[in-house]
């Protein structure tokens, strides 16, 4: 139809003014709330010069803490990817008594102050706990605390996508005799992947920065169970503000790099599929 061709040829009527204004406001908000404080942090860390920055950031305890932090956060993110998707699936597609209650509880790790989370986990899985296990002050305890704190991320990221997902294709595939797992792998999973990756990025970021729950249960032994956030805290308390800022900025840079990578991967996958 002539009108359609004409419509397709003319440039898309981008709501130019209001769009730019909205973007401007959003960027302004982001700058004031996030970027400005971060800029102040980065600026402070370079105060002593690049050499001092590097020296502070590469001290043995700092490096050990960094390795531990990134390693545990990665494991935590992976576990969340699997468990979170499974939980979201169960909450959306399954029916069982008490489902509503369970759904309402998912966000509690956020709402409970971290000190409560830490103390509760310690009471349960530390010495004197009812299960007879005592993994407190080990790396397992560290992972456990982080899994608790990051539980809601992947679950809540996947749920809305699952809710919006059109089940036509799955039903068609099932009626053609495809196995459930194949349906999942080929039809559902590609649609969920962007959401899973979103949740994973958040979980990773949070795991890297967690302090309150971890500081209680993990033991804080340098080189063994001390994560970067606790190390930074210790430096600050000892008056080494520049060292604290340096390690913070390094951690920030690495987190940014990982988040960029996850984002790029997601864009690649989406282009690949779409």
């Amino acid at each position: 139809m002539a009108t359609d061709a004409a419509v397709l040829e003319r440039p898309r009527p981008r709501p130019a003014v209001s769009g730019a204004l909205a973007r401007g406001v959003a960027t302004g908000y982001l700058s004031v709330v996030v970027l400005l404080p971060l800029a102040a942090l980065v600026w402070s860390s370079r105060a002593g010069g690049l050499g001092a920055f590097w020296e502070q950031a590469t001290r043995p305890e700092a490096v050990a803490a960094l390795k531990l932090t990134l390693g545990v956060a990665a494991v935590c993110a992976l576990v969340n990817a699997v468990a979170g998707t499974a939980i979201a699936w169960t909450l959306v597609r399954d029916r069982f008594p008490g489902k509503g209650i369970v759904d309402a509880l998912i966000d509690l790790p956020f709402a409970l102050p971290t000190i409560v989370a830490g103390l509760t986990l310690l009471a349960l899985y530390g010495p004197g706990g009812p299960f007879g296990v005592s993994i407190a002050f080990t790396r397992t305890a560290l992972l456990l605390a982080l899994l608790f704190v990051t539980l809601p991320f992947v679950v809540r990221a996947v749920q809305p996508v699952l809710l919006e997902l059109d089940t036509e294709m799955e039903e068609a595939a099932a009626s053609l005799g495809a196995a459930s797992f194949a349906i999942f792998r080929r039809i559902v999973f590609p649609n969920l992947l962007p959401a899973i990756l979103s949740g994973v990025a958040l979980a990773f970021a949070r795991a890297v920065g967690e302090f309150g729950a971890v500081v209680l249960i993990s033991g804080n032994l340098p080189f063994k169970t001390e994560v970067s956030s606790v190390y930074i805290f210790g430096q600050l308390q000892s008056g080494n503000e520049s060292g604290a800022a340096a390690v913070s900025v390094l951690l920030l840079g690495i987190s940014l790099a990982v988040l960029l990578a996850i984002g790029a991967f997601r864009r690649w996958r989406t282009r690949h599929d779409g």
Binding site: R12, R23, T27, V34, F96, D107, L108, V116, L162, R206
Partner: protein, 263 residues
Amino acid sequence: MARYVLRFGALGYLALLLLVPVGLVFYRAFEHGFGQAWDAVSSHQAVHALELTLLIAAIAVPANTVFGIVLALALVRTRFPGRGLVNAVVDLPLALSPVVVGLALFLLYGRGGWLGGLAGHGIKILFAFPGMVLATMFVSLPFVVREVVPVLREVGTDQEQAAETLGASPLQVFRRITFPAIRWAVAYGVVLTTARAIGEFGAVSVVSGRIEGKTETLPLYVQARFEGFDTPGAYTASVVLAVIAIATVVGLRAFHPREETAA
């Protein structure tokens, strides 16, 4: 068969990691009876802490929601230079430990900081309400954005383009087509943002100055109770926070009862 395996696996994980610890919190709060629990949270200090927490959330959550939707639209529907970077920066607040958030805010608004002069003109940011709101906004920033972006991508632009060619204004397009498509994502984003805003301890603790009866939020009150060996009081106050978070989810579901897909 697979359904049962999945269900038990997921629920088992949840039980160990979430249900049991949360159950313990509730148990510890009420183990000495409802009366004592009530006394613990009806003190003047506790009530003020609750009010302050809710007030901060009432500002931070809507702000982050509006920002989240706008930014999500910008990230998905438009192309601008640095899109990938902005995308990653949005998640950064979570990666910072609260100690560092506090440090960054100190460096910006504290004495000798870039905006430290504001205090001299009577605009108190640190150790006052504005600082606490800023810190809360900072840590709860990403959620609405992150929830909305995947759904926006999933939904596609067909309907929006159709509406535009039929002459709808951008606002109408948003109100009638875009928003209904993302409302679940926004809802979940709001739920997460609220939970995080009321439960934030670390960053708020650093910037609040913890002036009793003035700048003490409920999570800070919880910690103060622990410090004073009033463990039941601490757990009871935690239960209040948990109840608010649960109420948010329940309230949202009441608004949109249709939450099952045609399975």
